[in-house]
């Protein structure tokens, strides 16, 4: 058996496998719901309403997609240059930390100045965190999968220290939690009373920006060249090390923005559970998007919708809420398989 590329797949060929993947995901969920004593057939409707059924649900989905767009872009940028950044989680926290440090009164500026400044600072912080592993890779050849992964643990412990020490909210009753951002440091909400904030718009803008960088600029060209064939790139005079470092800065910066958007947009303060693994889910998002920056937006929305919808469904159907994660995982695995099968056919050989 081998896979053979299909020269020009028809639209049915392109759409069928993903549709089947989605269907299979639902079937798995229905089966599991049945086992747990739920009503299998009702879950489809429940997921849909959970994710899109009301303005509230829809905005919640967008909300959850926001940090995923940032981390997804961070991963997509890095992976395209074959910089295996598994540390977006830590970089996200770095962005969040700096937002809190500067946004709780240290800088007293009006919002139109403060907000961009904080975003920039968050990018710098996230970038700085990835610079270390990137330098270790380029200078000493240390595998960045491992260093970025370990940095996640180290940096989270550091955040924990900050939240119990210098960054602890004096009004927080001793709970490890930062003070709240000053009102000027908060990203405004898109709709009053609901949680969606302008971080979402920023995420969309970032996606377009990365797309433009990838396709229109020399940096984008360099990053792709280095990722595809570093040896050829070096021979052709592309400064490979510098490109890797630039990629690291961009990737880390995007992950840092995720932290900024979550703190300044959603939470208003930093806790140790700011991110339920957005950095890791970003990998899922980026890969679903085939590392395409605009694809990242759709992949993030897809992942968010599955999660929010299934989470809500699990409550309504009275089945354990872990079903949401199961659906997310199955959707991911089946979907990447489906994307493959919409471009290749299996052939006996």
């Amino acid at each position: 058996m081998r896979l053979e590329p299909i020269a020009a797949p028809s639209w049915q060929r392109r759409l069928m496998p993903p549709a089947l993947a989605l269907l299979a995901t639902f079937a798995i969920a229905a089966l599991l719901a049945q086992i747990a004593g739920g009503e299998p057939l009702s879950i489809f409707g429940l997921i849909l309403t959970g994710a899109f059924g009301s303005k509230f649900a829809l905005l919640e989905t967008l909300n959850r997609a926001t940090p995923l767009i940032f981390t997804g872009l961070a991963i997509a940028v890095a992976f395209r240059a074959k910089l295996w950044n598994i540390g977006a989680e830590a970089q996200l926290y770095a962005g969040a930390v700096i937002t809190v440090v500067l946004g709780t009164g240290a800088l007293s500026l009006p919002a139109p100045l403060l907000l961009p400044l904080l975003g920039l600072a968050a990018m710098v912080a996230g970038a700085a965190l990835l610079l270390g592993p990137a330098l270790l890779k380029t200078r000493l050849g240390v595998d960045e999968v491992v260093t970025t992964l370990l940095f996640n643990f180290i940096f989270l412990l550091f955040v924990s220290y900050l939240l119990e020490g210098p960054l602890k909210d004096p009004m927080g009753m001793g709970w490890p939690k930062s003070p709240r951002l000053s009102p000027e440091a908060r990203l405004p909400r898109v709709v009053d009373g609901l949680r969606l904030h302008w971080g979402f718009a920023l995420a969309l803008i970032s996606a377009v920006a990365i797309w433009v960088i990838n396709t229109r600029t020399t940096l984008g060209y360099e990053m792709r060249a280095v990722g595809q064939n570093a040896e050829a790139a070096r021979f052709a005079g592309i400064p490979v090390t510098r490109v890797i470092l630039k990629t690291a800065l961009l990737s880390g910066g995007l992950a840092g923005l995720a932290g900024y958007s979550e703190v300044a947009g959603l939470k208003g303060a930093l806790t140790l559970d700011l991110s339920p693994g957005f950095g890791y889910t970003g990998i899922v998002v980026a890969m679903l998007a085939l590392l395409h920056p605009l694809g990242v937006v759709f992949a993030a929305l897809f992942v968010a919708a599955i999660f929010v919808g299934a989470d809500s469904m699990s409550r309504a159907a009275g089945v354990p809420s872990y079903l949401a994660d199961i659906m997310l995982a199955s959707a991911l695995l089946l979907m990447v398989l489906a994307i493959l099968l919409s471009k290749f056919r299996l052939r006996r050989d």
Partner: protein, 305 residues
Amino acid sequence: AEPIKVAGIYTVPVEQQWVSRIHVAALAAKDRGDITYTFSENTSNTDYPRVMREYAEQGHKLIIGEIFGVEAEAREVAADYPDVAFLMGSSFKEDPALPNLAVFDNYIQDASYLSGIVAGAMSESGNIGMVGGFPIPEVNRLMHAFMAGAREMNPDITFQVSFIGSWFDPPKAKETAFAMIENGADMLYAERFGVSDAAKEKGVLAIGNVIDTQGDYPSTVAASALWHFEPTLDATIAKVRDGSFTAADYGVYSFMKEGGASLAPFGTFEGKIPQKALDLIASRTAAIKDGSYEVEINDAEPASS
């Protein structure tokens, strides 16, 4: 009467000691027919406000949970659903401007203090090991009360304090406890799962916290400080039912005098605890209940001594 629709939202699985007390109380109320009960566990703080809204939208009348990490946002949700009663574990006080959100916490320092007396009396080496998850107020205050109790029996006692940086890593907690035993501890304060197992394996004693674990470790756990959520929940249910639910600090329902905390029966250790300790426990229990003695509430991070 019609059962009240109640939902619980927990950031950890319902096995976690703290949450399990809420969960058990809710299940009991459900079995009595007072409430219907559904819950979400392991809900991350990011999702917490959304889940609150969902339950509120679904028509639940009372939502219980813990908002230590999402104080501000949870209050916003409560403000948006004035007809729903929220009873939330919180380090903050109630806010009169938000009449439908009441707070509680496991103020079982009374019981911890009493269990400390047992520990102080029974530790021969005068060296007690304490393994905690994170140094948060809920943990710190109980540790301090426990230490105060132990010092009543032996002012020279020393404490080893460690935090494992996780709520759920029994093997790690066990390793930490092992290290403390090696270092001379013959009595452990089992704030986390795993500690009593180390004590059992090495033949030293342990004191339980929040739940009674003597059943699992009959010759190891000498005493346990228990938290009972029932008084808190039952009071809430009554007030929701008669419409008098309002912003308040339900933390007091965890006090011993309200029946929210107690020292577990000595069980297998009946008769093994020195009379001097029993006497002090008896007198202090009475004093606590009649209000003449108050255990100090100290939320600062405890340190080894």
